[in-house]
């Protein structure tokens, strides 16, 4: 499982080499970069945009953009996995914006019901966002950071970050006022910040 901070960093070193070669136009290196990172990016995109066909299109666009921008990647500035993940997340969030402008489609389910839980029509064996946060927490020994958050802060942050839900969507799911949800997410992030920074400096990057 690529779930520890150390794995993230060591994988990053390898990816940084591949990225710099891709930046010089080396397609074989780029193919290797794709093999090493695409399953992660696809999973990240799929959690945000659950339409598989759209997620595939997004993944394709992401890598075409990465190929074009590879020469501008600065390994001293960012870890490749962080860079790649951020590009993929941005594209996935942007795709939600477009999708929301039209009536939302769930390709495999005919009826759209506002009261349906988002997870009613998703693969059953995939962990919920809160579980993911807990896994990541354990993996990165951030238990104490997470414990500093209240349960609703943790939940709303997980929905926002992993599933790309907007403040409004989270408020609807939790049946809470928008302002309350906004402050949960915001305070949750601010509470996590010093703790995450400590682990960042601790891991030496």
């Amino acid at each position: 499982m690529p779930s520890s901070r150390a794995d993230w960093s060591s994988k990053s070193e390898e990816l940084a080499k591949l990225l710099s070669r891709a930046g010089l136009g080396d397609q074989a290196a780029f193919a290797a970069l794709y093999r090493h990172s695409s399953a992660h990016l696809f999973a990240v995109i799929l959690r945000i945009n659950r339409d598989r066909a759209q997620a595939q299109d997004i993944l394709q666009e992401v890598y075409v953009n990465v190929w074009r921008a590879a020469s501008g990647f600065d390994a001293a500035q960012s870890q490749p996995m962080t860079w790649l993940t951020s590009i993929a997340r941005n594209r996935a969030i942007d795709s939600l914006r477009r999708a929301n402008a039209q009536p939302r489609l769930h390709s495999s389910h005919g009826k759209e019901d506002e009261d349906n839980d988002v997870y009613d029509d998703t693969a059953d064996d995939s962990p919920g966002p809160l579980e993911l946060l807990n896994q990541a927490t354990l993996a990165r020994q951030l238990q104490q950071c997470m414990e500093g958050l209240s349960a609703p802060q943790r939940q709303s942050l997980a929905w926002a970050y992993f599933d790309g839900l907007s403040h409004g969507e989270i408020a609807a799911k939790m049946a809470q006022p928008l302002g309350t949800v906004k402050s949960w997410v915001r305070r949750g992030l601010q509470a996590l910040k010093p703790c995450l920074d400590k682990t960042r400096s601790g891991s030496g990057d």
């Binding site: 992660h40 953009n65 020469s71 500035q77 990165r140 960042r200």
Partner: protein
């Protein structure tokens, strides 16, 4: 708003990176990034903090057709063009050879123009001509065209306008750069492909010798330097 204020930059960046900043607000922040280093650094820091959390998501192998699509797109670029991509365009000797002849003159006239905000200077018009079009320009949905930029006499406002219709894919953006006689270009922000854009700056960077427009991802370059091909270049003072 003063985006160099650390608390504000940090809060906006946290909203942006966590994904809760949406729609127009998200677009606006992306448009601000190229010109606001403090904001850019804050975004970078939050990405650095949060991205590793995604390591807990179980990987999902994409179907082979995705790679086939990527390969087909990136292989379309003819081999001849590739060496040109190896260096940033502003690091290339040829660029500077063609540039050096007028650089001094341009620097002097720009310095005169820019260091003299009190005097009423007429606006300066810069025509940005299409550079060698990227081989996959058609694939990226770009039609070769030129831009014209008018710089106000005090150097505080630049209005850019395409001379012919420029079509751009929705996932690409144009970014305007001030090119100094030496060193890296400085971003002036994103500009519209389909109409006039007013770029307001406290001051055009002193000694700016040319303006350039590059093709970038939607929010503009995240590296502080052009990442995509440079589509248009125009020299000041000619």
């Amino acid at each position: 708003m003063d985006y160099s204020r650390p608390e504000l930059a940090d809060r906006l960046a946290a909203d942006y990176v966590s994904g809760t900043l949406r729609g127009g607000a998200r677009r606006r922040l992306e448009a601000l990034l190229p010109a606001h280093p403090a904001l850019r650094h804050a975004v970078h820091d939050w990405q650095d903090r949060l991205a590793p959390l995604t390591a807990s998501i179980s990987p999902q192998s994409p179907p082979d057709e995705v790679w086939a699509g990527i390969e087909a797109t990136i292989s379309r670029r003819p081999v001849v063009v590739r060496p040109a991509r190896r260096k940033h365009w502003w690091q290339q000797l040829l660029f500077w050879r063609s540039f050096s002849a007028f650089a001094t003159l341009a620097a002097i006239s720009a310095a005169l123009l820019l260091s003299n905000p009190g005097a009423s200077q007429p606006p300066m018009i810069v025509v940005l001509n299409a550079t060698e079009a990227p081989a996959d320009a058609a694939a990226q949905g770009i039609v070769a065209a030129s831009f014209v930029a008018s710089i106000s006499g005090d150097g505080r406002a630049i209005v850019t306008r395409p001379l012919t219709k420029v079509t751009l894919q929705s996932d690409r953006a144009l970014e305007l750069w001030a090119v100094p006689p030496s060193g890296s270009p400085k971003s002036l922000g994103l500009i519209a492909a389909d109409g006039a854009t007013v770029v307001k700056r406290d001051q055009l960077p002193a000694g700016t010798a040319a303006l350039a427009v590059s093709l970038e991802p939607p929010g503009g370059s995240t590296t502080g330097a052009p990442t995509g091909p440079v589509l248009y270049v125009g020299k000041l003072g000619t």
